[in-house]
Symmetry: C2
Subunit: 649 residues, 2 copies
């Protein structure tokens, strides 16, 4: 059987299985899957260097399915090839035909969209929210380049999906970093969900765009095995230069069965009573292509990867330089020695540099604000571990998810407000169990002068919602930190590196007093009682801890004594806090520089659940802020400064 | 004085004032402002048809400053021209030189970044989070096209900023809708915040990209008044065709004063002791240009708009067809008559159509999922009020902000999960006081089969955080709704249209029983007691109301009686709920299909603040879900179905 015939045969086989499994599921996207039949057949049976028995090999080529809803076509090929799955973290075995027929069932090893943590290690990241896959592929490609591993990362992108701006952020990133090991393949089947794609997403215009973005573009018939292979053969050429390859494949949605073509077929499985007819039409297509021999195509041979590289499973703790040494390395020793206030963002920069020096898996990522977040020190001293992502936060986060899948520990830094741009990408990374570390600087309202467009305000509520949800490892899906001084920021940054999973940290723009001894330790979920008094209990984090201390000083003048708690992490040990509060007058005032849903919700829910008679007075940002020249101006405007705290008692 | 000289003179004058005001503020971005001096001078003193005394005129040309940090150059021109401001909603007066010297002060009428609600009505939307302005401009342009108003919308975009994918979503949108009244102007000063821009954002590559996206591109020297004007003159040509104009302007960051040029000058005001030198250098530049006559340029004449169109301030209530008529209009009368379950998303589609028919200000926007959200009925019947945004949620939301600024009432629909892609854009629209309505379908976990990549789970916590913050009108920054049936969804959609500001509604994929009579009314913050019992109080919303009713039925079999509350909106009348709970055994169980931070936080905080002895048992999604074929499968997997509710008591 010729190569062309063998691919046609496999394309028909996997298309049939994709149709069957979605019919069994009662939902799914068979027509999109069918449009990818040949591209997937050439990739998985011939082009990619990989081993179905060892999808974990970090030296193998990878496939990122950005248009995640097309996943049945991958499952079909994977089952045909006996690709390994792990279900419930225990039984490692080849994916069977029976398995794929359980698609979308609650106890199936394969999920409705790609997810590395739900059975199939062939995937590196969860996809399904569109437009994110090329960034993940770029992260994998960047990691391979850093590690000197010869592997290619193929990424299948829908034409409709290519309307998402993040795709073009990723295209820029691939060119910026000359990632010729990353191959975007646009699947131009001309149909999106509810309509034909815009002319702006036609194969012609996509080709022009990709060329303008700096790619070497091949436009092909995505159902012609020879054209597909010829396009992949260009990889050798582009990899001798710096202009990456982009393939624009013209395909047919519902390829192989006319009844599955045209509009109205996007997210609909073939009904059980129509299944036989669709399968028969696919057989007819096979006959027309001269490949009616069932089981043909077996002579296709997957090239094995040349090496085996394991993704390190076990982790040794990363220990960084002592606080004073870390600060000295970035020129802050004089400030420290003089007892000057130090902005937590600077301590973050120092810790990040110390981490990178201690462990080469640490990768720093920035969106052109490294002189504000102080990731600049890392960038300057460890350029080989640093990736400049420019002003494109969505791409940065998904690149980090790709880096994580390749065993790196990516630290993303930008303004806390600008992470909001990537909340969807962050959630997709969380679903992927990606080991990403996010530090948002200029948190809260005390950046003051720039005004509300730069202030992170709903972020605490957003990230807290993940703190009370377990990820697939049974751990909080997010660990949240908000250090109040340089020491705690330094230590919590180190802690983040040693946790597995997504961590989010807020850092402050403003210089603030150092509150802790250099060797103080900070535990997960812990809190610090900075002062204990019998009359009232302030619970706060970050900048507002300092305002609470000032308020406590004021109170002391009238012989009232406040407890001040630095609640630097979520999920929080609320039981411990309620115990302290019970001996502090039974009244808690939470003080926050963000919108509702942070400490107020954490403590309020705990009080309500415990049946305790402690009461809560929550202070937080109750009005959209405006610019003020100094932090105190804005705090006073919002009735949140230490005077306002006292007035609220 | 020639045109060229007059523009040079104004450019120097406004650059000087921009430098002075940032020095007075002690922060800001003077060098970016200086790079825009000529573009702003030509636009505001010569090209734009507008009246500084009447910036409210909806027939005037508009300027959207996407790179919001450059705002001092606009303030300078606006003050020079005596543009009107409104501060604290009362004193309407021309912006003075004294005003601009108060830049960034807490009591200043001008904010650190553009904001229409903080003084300056020249702006249509708050900017400062980058990459959003062109979408806002496109919304303004689309509104003008719909209304048949001849106005042009100019948009200034930073080169570094153009890395944000949303810019390219907007470019596609402008071409798709042939918005030749929208003019993107890329300010290519080659420097971003922490570094030079990537070659991918060079003027050459940007020109190639814009051309590939379908624009007629003019590359000019952005400090040459004649070249700027010639580029604008192309507008007449492009407006006779369908290919919009894009201007790529090569500029100098820190134009006019060498000391302000090069890296390290981005977000830094000139120190007070260096101010005189910088101003002197600008004077020297004026002298070299032969325009040293202070006060020159006064002969520039701004063309007035041809008409005056007011943005309707007062609103008549929009009343839609009765529920049964509304459902009949979309073919659901038989389902209704037969007492069949009806998905709330379908009732939303019916209400949206009824709203659009009742008021032409209603604009429907979709991201290619209209057959899922059921915005498809609106799209089919009211094509002149419908804008297809394709798969680009960020652009959709910012377009809606632009439409709102032009007096429209935009309704955006997509999956609730996919709005997460646009949370930053939503917050910027909220800061702008935009009147946008967001309905996210397939909310929660009961969409089941597609899995977690399509499930909205942190959304309730995110939007709730805004519910307890007041916007500049003193109203909750967001009103949140989660209807449990078709009637409440229909009514709440109508309510959303009649509220001013941002509303977010979750709708369900699943068909659910109709719970309410067709004429039932639903109030802001209200709730419905569906059943009252003495033993326990279930508080829920959406799908989970039905599970609570089932649980209550089960309980009744063992003679225990539950209260069931449908808490369909936030902020919630928690006082009322605690009163009901007090007579329902003093124990509340909140039941939600989302992550923590929704009803659990709302009720928990209220209990804790009230000192009440009511206790709370919160049930919510505590694990990242997976696919299941039916809602009940997923609910059982997450221990959230009616059986799990009973087990938790």
């Amino acid at each position: 059987m010729s190569f062309t015939s063998a691919i046609h045969r496999k394309a028909v086989d996997i298309a049939k299985l994709a149709v069957e499994m979605t019919t069994a599921a009662g939902s799914g996207h068979p027509s999109t899957a069918m449009s990818l039949a040949h591209l997937v057949a050439v990739l998985m049976y011939h082009q990619m260097r990989w081993d179905p028995k060892d999808p974990w090999n970090q030296a193998s080529d990878r496939l990122v399915l950005s248009e995640g809803h097309a996943v049945p076509i991958i499952y079909a090929a994977y089952a045909d090839l006996g690709g390994m799955v792990i279900w419930n973290g225990k039984d490692k075995r080849p994916l069977s035909r029976e398995d794929v027929m359980s698609l979308r069932a609650i106890d199936s090893p394969i999920d409705g969209h790609p997810n590395p943590r739900l059975g199939v290690p062939f995937f590196d990241a969860a996809t399904g929210s569109l437009g994110q896959g090329l960034s993940v592929a770029a992260g994998l490609g960047a990691a391979a380049k850093i590690d000197g591993i010869d592997r290619n990362i193929y990424c299948l992108i829908g034409d409709g999906e290519s309307r998402e701006g993040q795709i073009w952020e990723a295209m820029d990133f691939v060119v910026d970093h000359a990632l010729t090991n990353v191959v975007p393949i646009f699947n131009c089947n001309e149909l999106a969900q509810s309509d034909w794609v815009s002319p702006q997403q036609s194969s012609n215009v996509l080709a022009e765009k990709a060329e303008a973005f700096g790619f070497f573009v091949e436009v092909i018939d995505g159902h012609d095995p020879h054209q597909i292979q010829s396009a992949f053969d260009r990889l050798h050429v582009v990899q001798n230069g710096n202009r990456p390859l982009c393939i624009i494949a013209r395909t047919v949605k519902g390829w192989g069965a006319k009844v599955e073509q045209g509009t109205g077929k996007h997210g609909t499985a073939v009904k059980k009573d129509k299944l036989a007819a669709v399968l028969a039409e696919l057989d007819q297509t096979a006959a027309e292509l001269g490949v009616s021999n069932v089981g043909g195509g077996g002579e296709l041979k997957i090239p094995l990867p040349e090496a085996r590289v394991a993704n390190p499973e076990s982790r040794t703790p990363i220990r960084i330089a002592p606080f004073s040494d870390g600060l000295a390395a970035v020129g802050l020793h004089n400030d420290l020695a003089a007892g000057k206030p130090i902005a937590p963002r600077k301590a973050y920069g120092a810790a990040l540099l110390a981490l990178g020096a201690a462990d080469e898996r640490i990768i720093g990522l920035d969106c052109d604000v490294k002189n504000s977040t102080h990731a600049e020190w890392f960038a300057a001293k460890l350029p080989g571990q640093f990736l400049q992502c420019r002003i494109a936060e969505q791409n940065m986060v998904s690149v980090a998810a790709g880096l994580s899948a390749a065993g790196k520990i990516p630290f993303c830094s930008t303004f806390a407000k600008f992470f909001e741009r990537a909340y969807d990408q962050i959630e997709m990374a969380i679903i992927s169990s990606a080991n990403i570390k996010l530090t948002g600087s200029h948190a809260g309202v005390t950046l003051a002068a720039d005004g509300p467009s730069q202030m992170s305000l709903p972020d605490v509520a957003f990230f807290r919602s993940f703190c009370h949800t377990n990820n697939y490892d049974g751990q909080p899906a997010v660990r949240y930190f908000f250090p109040s001084d340089a020491v705690s920021c330094y230590r919590l940054t180190e802690l983040m590196a040693n946790l597995v999973g997504c961590c989010y940290q807020r850092t402050l723009r403003a210089d603030v007093k150092v509150l802790y001894e250099p060797e103080e330790s900070f535990d997960l979920g812990g809190f610090k009682v900075l002062r204990e008094g019998k009359d009232i209990c302030f619970v706060s984090a970050g900048y507002m801890v300092h305002e609470c201390l000032k308020a406590a000083d004021e109170l002391a003048k009238s012989a009232r004594h406040a407890t001040v708690i630095d609640a630097y992490s979520l999920p929080l040990d609320t039981k411990g806090i309620l115990e302290v509060a019970a001996r502090s007058g039974g009244r808690i005032v939470t003080v926050e520089d963000n919108y509702s849903g942070g400490l107020d919700a954490e403590i309020g829910s705990a009080i309500a659940a415990s049946g305790s008679d402690i009461t809560l007075k929550p202070l937080y940002v109750r009005n959209i802020p405006k610019s003020g020249r100094e932090p105190q101006d804005v705090l006073d405007y919002l009735h949140l400064g230490h005077k306002a705290i006292l007035a609220a008692l």
